[in-house]
């Protein structure tokens, strides 16, 4: 982190220009009365929301048509900051709620925006079934490798050997390869980016929103206060630099090769983009025959 006070300098720093402002160009989709948000300095969730706002804008779909459903956790708080019809549901159960909302309102774009613990641990069963059914929703999974809100416990996405409060001697378990899991269950769109890849993350979110069927975007994001700190990795700033130096873009990679180890290479890209009838397509086809 920059710390201009401690650098040795020969000349005093040039005074910079600061033009104070009150509103941000992307505020139109945010509940401004609730900003600044609760996420830590150098947390990546805000950046994911930033890209999401741009994706909504670029989709050209009217905002009224979106509904956002989240679960519990740091990422779960996204529903409270985005100015769309939003539902902050129970831990792990965003996907069933979104399924019900989508089925009764197929005209809406239902987005599930939640964290790795919420979607893959307690919500894992719902994740695989929604993918299997090809429910036409978009799931954005912010993966910070840890349970942030509750203080930094182990998640099924925590890399092997990493330290968390419930794995103080190092994680004995191996994490899920989430894109592989979701792709194997039948998702029609699977991509992974990191919070650093702002434009590509935005494009992936846009494609996922526009895609018919179950689309899944995993965003690896820094957790400063817990994951980085407990593993002596610095702050989120340092994790972003790590993503910069260690990410490899491989579109169309075999999802079985997307495992993430502790501070190892992260493969990002768009891995699955196929066409398949959705759950409602099949119901409508069946009911037409009836």
């Amino acid at each position: 982190m920059s710390d201009s006070g401690s650098k040795t300098q020969t000349a005093p720093p040039e005074p910079g220009i600061v033009r104070p402002a009150q509103q941000h160009p992307r505020d139109w989709l945010l509940r401004q009365d609730r900003l600044p948000h609760i996420w830590c300095p150098t947390c990546g969730i805000g950046t994911c929301v930033n890209s999401f706002v741009e994706a909504v804008h670029e989709s050209g779909i009217p905002e009224e048509q979106f509904a956002i459903v989240s679960g519990i956790g740091c990422t779960g708080r996204v529903a409270g900051y985005v100015k769309l019809d939003s539902f902050h549901t129970t831990h792990g159960r965003a996907i069933p709620f979104a399924t019900g909302l989508h089925i009764t309102r197929p005209d809406l774009k239902v987005i599930v925006f939640s964290g790795d613990g919420d979607l893959v641990a307690i919500g894992g069963n719902h994740l695989i079934h929604a993918a299997r059914r090809n429910i036409d929703i978009t799931v954005i999974c912010v993966n910070n490798f840890i349970y942030g809100m509750t203080g930094g416990q182990l998640a099924p996405t925590t890399p092997h050997d990493a330290r968390t409060t419930t794995s103080p001697y190092g994680n004995y378990e191996y994490p899920f390869n989430v894109p592989h899991l979701v792709a194997s269950c039948g998702a029609v769109y699977v991509a992974r980016w990191t919070a650093l890849h702002v434009r590509r993350m935005k494009r992936a979110m846009l494609e996922a929103i526009q895609k018919r069927g179950f689309s899944f975007v995993e965003i690896i994001a820094p957790c400063s206060t817990l994951y980085a700190r407990k593993n002596r990795l610095g702050t989120g700033y340092d994790l972003m630099k790590f993503y910069h130096d260690n990410c490899e873009v491989q579109h169309g990679a075999d999802t079985s090769e997307l495992d993430i180890g502790f501070q190892t290479k992260i493969t990002v890209g768009k891995f699955v983009d196929i066409e398949k009838p959705t759950f409602l397509d099949r119901i409508q086809a069946g009911q037409a025959k009836h």
Binding site: R31, R34, E63, E64, Q65, A67, V69, A79, G80, K83, L84, D85, S86, F87, H88, T89, T90, R93, I95, P96, F97, A98, T99, G100, L101, H102, I103, T104, R105, D107, L108, N125, H126, H129, F279, L280, I283, G286, Q287, H290
Partner: protein, 385 residues
């Protein structure tokens, strides 16, 4: 079922309680059902799977009961009347999301066809052992509305009432059936549409700039919106203020949660429902619900044949409990006899309200079969001794 039928199968039918409750839901306008198979409620799901295409609705078998409850909450916010059905083990799983439905004030109906418990218990045999769980099963403070039909006909009729109550008071309403009522086949008369009164969803007439999702008037029930109409609502299970935004503080909790509870307590006189017979001048009143009420009738008749003055009070709406009536009766009679297929649940409410003014005797039955009327008769005589 090759010919498409409408939602309302007006006419005389011979159907079991599970099928009747599904038909009642369809008559009430239910167009979304998410369920999971569990004996003895599976037939509700099966009937719904068969009939949903007839009403242009959707049936989905979810991966578990937790998902079923979550899906119907989403379906309700999607603007459609939504229902799920389960039994004891599934009821336990649904508790967390039931709490979400109560906290977010989401109208929907949850059917529990009770069986013997605890745990896996007696999947195919009767119990009435989830009555207290219906009231207290989810964590935190809340009030709930629960109905107990005692015949397939009532399964049909009360299903419509359940949807009406859920829309009027904005909460999940429970249909506490039992395995015997669910599986017994009896005559069900389905009326014409002119006889069916449906309560509409209470949508706001305010524009988005003025609307607050949890602002209430005299009756303490907030008005709802349709998603996708520009209201940009935020609905959360966290303690929230009138805007719906999380407000995780003691003052908001102390304002908001009592309002949720008062919403039912304040309106209890309109919600409470029971059926009385022979109460005037009675020495003993038998209080029962569900299938036990039909068995109790036999015991009451036998007692009356012996010249005893016995009244019968059948709970139709079990929660909120008719406290005022029980208190009133307690001062007039010698005692209450409460047969139920459990080891003491609703009897505790009776006892609480009787407050020592009248004896309260429980006729226990651990489950698996209905009472022997002789046991109820014995308790009636015991109270009079």
């Amino acid at each position: 079922m090759s010919k498409a039928r409408g939602a309302l199968l007006t006419g005389e039918h011979f159907m079991n309680g599970d099928v009747a409750v599904a038909e009642g839901a369809l008559a009430a306008g239910c167009t979304f059902f998410a369920g999971y198979p569990i004996t003895p409620a599976t037939e509700v799901s099966e009937r719904m799977a068969e009939r949903m295409p007839d009403v242009g609705g959707i049936f989905i078998q979810m991966e578990d009961e937790i998902a079923s409850m979550g899906a119907i909450l989403g379906g309700s916010w999607g603007g459609q009347k939504s229902m799920t059905a389960t039994s004891g083990p599934g009821f336990s799983l649904m508790m967390e999301n039931l709490g979400l439905g109560l906290m977010t004030e989401t109208p929907c109906v949850l059917v529990n066809v009770q069986r013997g418990g605890p745990s896996t218990g007696l999947p195919t045999l009767v119990g009435q052992q989830d009555m207290m769980q219906a009231r207290w099963g989810s964590h935190g403070d809340y009030e709930i509305i629960a109905l107990a039909p005692n015949s397939p006909q009532e399964c049909f009729d009360l299903a419509i009432d359940a949807f009406n109550l859920s829309e009027t008071y904005r909460l999940p309403v429970l249909m506490m059936m039992d395995e015997v009522v669910g599986h017994m086949t009896e005559r069900v008369s389905i009326p014409g549409p002119e006889k069916i009164k449906l309560a509409p969803r209470r949508l706001t007439d305010r524009p988005p700039s003025e609307y607050k999702p949890y602002e209430t008037g005299q009756d303490l029930v907030p008005s709802m919106v349709e998603v996708g109409k520009g209201y940009r609502i935020h609905i959360t299970g966290l303690t929230h203020d009138e805007r719906g935004y999380p407000a995780v503080t003691a003052p908001v909790q102390q304002r908001m949660v009592p309002r949720l509870v008062e919403k039912i307590r304040h309106n209890a006189p309109q919600i409470v429902r029971y059926e009385e017979d022979g109460i005037a001048g009675a020495d003993v009143v038998v209080i029962s619900y569900g299938i036990t009420s039909r068995v109790a009738l036999m015991a009451v008749e036998q007692a009356r044949e012996r010249g005893l003055k016995i009244g019968h009070l059948r709970l139709i709406v079990v929660w909120p409990f008719p406290e005022a009536r029980i208190r009133e009766l307690a001062s007039q009679i010698k005692g209450f006899v409460v047969p139920e297929i459990n080891l003491g649940q609703m009897v505790r409410e009776v006892e609480r309200c009787a407050a020592g003014q009248a004896r309260t005797l429980h006729v226990a039955n651990a489950g698996g079969s209905v009472h022997d009327p002789a046991d109820i008769l014995k308790s009636i005589e015991e109270v009079l001794r």
